[in-house]
């Protein structure tokens, strides 16, 4: 989505493969957004972007990590932040949970919150 070279980006379909291979998903959406609609995968943690600087150490450096959000914009910035802090196994998932839902991949909650538009940025933590 964004033209940049710092962070490797993968699509939701490829993310499925990463999940099968044991990757950890890190959802950087805010807690209220996750309460409405969440990714339904085995290994996932929620570190909202608003808390990310204080909590990024919770993310293991020795595991494959896929950063996710609503549209792929916030997670890209968080992934860049991790790369700048020495993480080497981090990728960003493009298009976020909006595309994830379109593809019919598993979620928990109300999918209508992401089917109304394709904005990359939501309430807090972004613009």
């Amino acid at each position: 989505m964004e033209n940049q070279t710092l962070v490797k980006e993968i699509c939701p379909t490829t993310t499925q493969e990463w999940v099968k291979n044991g990757a950890l998903l890190v959802d950087v959406r805010e807690k209220d957004e996750v309460a409405e609609l969440a990714y339904d995968v085995p290994n996932i943690i929620n570190i909202p972007l608003s808390e990310f600087e204080e909590r990024f150490n919770e993310i293991p450096k020795d595991q494959d990590v896929v950063m996710v959000c609503k549209g792929g914009g916030r997670s890209l910035r968080a992934a860049g932040f991790l790369v700048n802090h020495g993480y080497t196994n981090v990728v960003n998932m493009q298009h976020g949970i909006a595309r994830w839902v379109q593809k019919g991949f598993p979620t928990k909650g109300n999918t209508s919150v992401v089917t109304g538009g394709d904005s990359c940025c939501s309430t807090s933590g972004c613009c």
Binding site: N3, T5, L49, R77, F81, N84, C120, C121, C126, C127
Partner: protein
Amino acid sequence: MTQIKVLGPGCPKCKTTYSNVLEALKQSNIEANVVKVEDIEEMMKYNVLTTPVLMIDEQIKIKGRVAQVNEIIELLKK
């Protein structure tokens, strides 16, 4: 000359911050170079998570919210 950067992907809050910077310079008669940084790679170099970000002379002064005209003037006078 003072260097001011407004970092953000072009969202309404980023545009407001940018116009507030211009207004602050106008009101205070301070001269500065103002640059709008919308390139995501450039933003990531500064480890920016929440936007908009106001930078003065390469230091992050305000992040994650709109910088108001009065506070920009105060920051410029420091």
